[in-house]
Symmetry: C2
Subunit: 497 residues, 2 copies
């Protein structure tokens, strides 16, 4: 399936620099036959080390600069290729921490910007919760509601992933207390005590999360995040239960028995913790989990694990929150990673952000707050992002991108298996679903060197966990991009043998 | 000073409905002479009650609908006038909860959208913290840094107000612990314990806030928010100190002695709380305060109060965080409300959002986290909002809008004083700075009726606190808009005499 190109090509500025494709050209010839995707580039093209001289002088010392990798030329970036301000063109297998769904400067998104009917949505950002635009319901129906998870017909948009999870937690707390309270409504004591942070108005409830989980960095989210010390150090937190997440052996299909035992151990611990925290007087109102732990090191678990976990939540009266901020949007080969579980009732809440372009969460009806201003803020998302999402979903459907992802993902994982056999002391634990793949490197310093070396050869990847490399390409990452990537990655690895 | 109009007028659709200006026309004649602002409408124009029949059928039951007032036609809205889907045109004195800086569909913002150089910024949202665009430093310099508060040269953008405050709190916690720790850096015990939410890695630190304060609704912010029960009910919180905010008598200049005594009482309480919480083993890392408590009921305090509070923070080693999410951006007649204090060193952190179009916070150098990934998330703001902000600031400067606000604000407050004398049993406590004004209504049910009645007559206002109405017009709200507003408001009040 080739992407049907569009007449409204992204703007091309008149850069006349000669492109010395010292990595790209050498490898393109080895790549699989290239399908038509006219607006994409045909390979990486490196002119300088990265960051190059122009990037080096740009650093804005007025900003948090320590994390900045280099500065980009987004005008010139296209498809799977990110171009930097030094004119280096890199195959992007990380896509802005997994947040660019259909590549850079997709013609469909430029076409949207050219439509004068859309301008006022960008210029006049409303307080969506009180004064939505007239087309709001239609745009929700065309975008988020058209891909609603099984059993969910309601959605709440938010500005980012952390706000989505924070508000999902609030929805779970509110539903829990409303259920406890029954039809009477809050007491005067509830209303008085909540204003000064005290019980019973601010109840001692908790959210159960997993070691290695990542759910964002605001204080509520952070109390459920247990990925890396740098995410949490020095921030006050809450005494909430933390369960072990299964540490499985890969490939999963070769270790089914051991893995099932490990998952059973974790599930037992979950039930123990729910009981313990209830006895502590800090009952578990909700359980939050990622379908694949991403920041924490691309840790997978089986469909059975998640279905059992969902049942445990139901049994103990905890809401079940599946955080699809990184896994959602098609990168696993299904639109939502939880679809791989094959459940009709996968969750009570599913949160999203990143590739969905807007944050938010779907929820079942009983997790709707009983009053409008309980889940609320000024912007409640940004309707201009909903416009983009309509187009992204159209492209995904028109170009069968979920099938493409499944196909590319198989090629990528097979390639990683092959490299792992070729470099046994260097690589291990290749794993993935769709193109949402990862592999472990022998140690963290070697991983850092590999990431930098690959970047200098024109491939952008990211790390996760203690010593993993994660692959997060756009949904338009085709089999020939996989071949191109594997060739360059192989070259890089050869230097570390 | 008239707004210099621009050739790129907003799109006008071909609505052919006859406009029955049954409130607007009657009052326009009484208004002050109208200055040139061609692209603005010349008065309200009501066709139906609000919400009208078209609004009533639009309700998206898939969304949090309880708070929705009505549906809007943002294409047709212009300047100070919000148009709804039923063709009603209302003078907007609330501006999307104080978040529309220069009115609807300002020509300068449409012009920006028409520039093809800007398109890629909308289409390719980067992970700003790692891969910013090449023009990032320039756009920051032209926008946020050009209006940096006194003593601050650093800024961190975020997606919304809550995220801004959450991350500002984190910056204060990190700085506090780094100072305690000295040059040695975190211990292994710090790094291990933080992953499981425990001390010393997750230290028992606190933020001191004020009764009536509002700083957002995510869990960290919410622990410092004490405005209304509906904002906080059922959400677990933290044992952080809450000081009384001065309850002053208005007009301030008539009650200077009583007010000074009340402020002294509150400041004493602040010092007591800092001491108490230190003894509890939960030291105060920062103090957060609004220059005018907005959601909590437009509560003012004197410049002396804030300068003394800032000194108390300094004396006790607490960072001083001024939350300008609602007060910032010019509505008080100065760009930042804290400028009215006349201090060279007003704060350690100033957070913003709403009229600044992007969230974020300024901070002093010693509140910069020591490592790049400590204050971090995927998007870290949205550079397309920085583009808009550049234009907004240009308009503010070009059209001397801060002077306009000061002038309109005086007229508005004088008008409110006059109405208060005219309706002594109904209105009280008129107060304000610039156009950031408020007045109290005799009780909450009457307030609700007045707000609805005014809306049906073509004026949109908002409530705050227990029985206040707050005025939050755009910066282009001129003296003749004040006159128009006062006429309609007078008519409404007459029905409640």
């Amino acid at each position: 399936n080739s992407i049907s190109t569009n007449s409204s090509h992204p703007r091309r500025t008149g850069s006349s620099l000669l492109c010395v494709c010292w990595t790209g050209c050498r490898h393109v010839s080895k790549a699989a036959p290239q399908a038509q995707m006219e607006w994409d580039y045909d390979g990486p093209c490196m002119k300088t080390a990265v960051p190059g001289p122009r990037s080096m002088v740009l650093s804005p010392c007025s900003y948090n600069v320590d994390a900045i990798n280099f500065f980009c030329n987004y005008e010139e970036s296209r498809g799977n290729y990110l171009v930097d301000v030094d004119g280096n063109r890199m195959l992007d297998v990380y896509t802005q921490i997994s947040s660019i769904p259909i590549g850079y400067n997709h013609p469909a998104l430029h076409k949207l910007m050219a439509d004068p009917n859309n301008l006022s949505t960008f210029v006049n950002r409303p307080a969506l919760g009180i004064l939505p635009p007239g087309n709001f319901a239609d745009k929700l129906a065309e975008s988020l509601l058209s891909v609603a998870p099984s059993g969910m017909t309601r959605v709440q948009t938010m500005a980012c992933g952390s706000c989505s999870n924070e508000n999902a937690y609030k929805a779970m707390f509110i539903a829990y207390r409303n259920r406890e309270r029954g039809p009477g409504g809050p007491t005067q004591e509830d209303l008085r005590s909540c204003l000064i942070n005290q019980e019973p108005g601010c109840p001692d409830l908790s959210i159960l999360s997993f070691m290695g989980g990542f759910h964002g960095r605001t204080m509520g989210c952070l109390a459920t995040t247990h990925s890396k010390a740098i995410h949490k150090l020095d921030i006050p937190s809450l005494d909430w239960p933390i369960a072990p997440f299964p540490r499985l052996q890969y490939p999963l299909e070769e270790f089914t028995r051991d893995n099932a035992a490990e998952e059973a151990r974790c599930l037992e611990e979950v039930e123990d913790l729910i009981m313990q925290w209830r006895q502590k007087g800090r009952p578990v109102a909700g359980i939050v989990v990622e379908p694949i732990q991403a920041e924490g090191g691309d840790n997978h678990a089986s469909a059975d694990f998640f279905k059992s976990l969902r049942n445990i939540a139901r049994k103990h009266g905890c809401a079940f929150h599946v955080d699809e901020v990184q896994t959602g949007g098609g990168c696993t080969g299904k639109f939502w990673a939880h679809e791989h579980w094959g459940s009709d009732d996968p969750a009570d809440i599913v949160s999203f952000s990143k590739k969905l372009l807007t944050g938010g969460y779907y929820h079942k009806t009983d997790l709707q707050a009983d009053k409008g201003y309980r889940i609320f803020n000024t912007w409640m998302g940004d309707p201009s992002k909903n416009l983009f999402l309509v187009e992204v979903l159209n492209v995904i459907r028109r170009e069968n991108l979920l099938e493409e992802v499944t196909r590319s993902g198989k090629a990528l994982l097979q390639g990683l298996y092959a490299l792992q056999e070729q470099y046994p002391g260097l690589l291990s634990r290749a794993r993935g679903q769709g193109t949402f793949c990862a592999i472990d490197i022998r140690d963290d310093p070697t991983r850092s060197k590999i990431l930098l070396k690959a970047r200098d050869k024109g491939v952008l990847m990211g790390g996760c966990g203690e010593r993993s490399i994660r692959f997060r390409p756009a949904l338009i990452f085709k089999e020939y991009h996989v071949a191109l990537f594997l060739n360059i990655f192989n070259d890089v690895l050869a230097e570390f043998k």
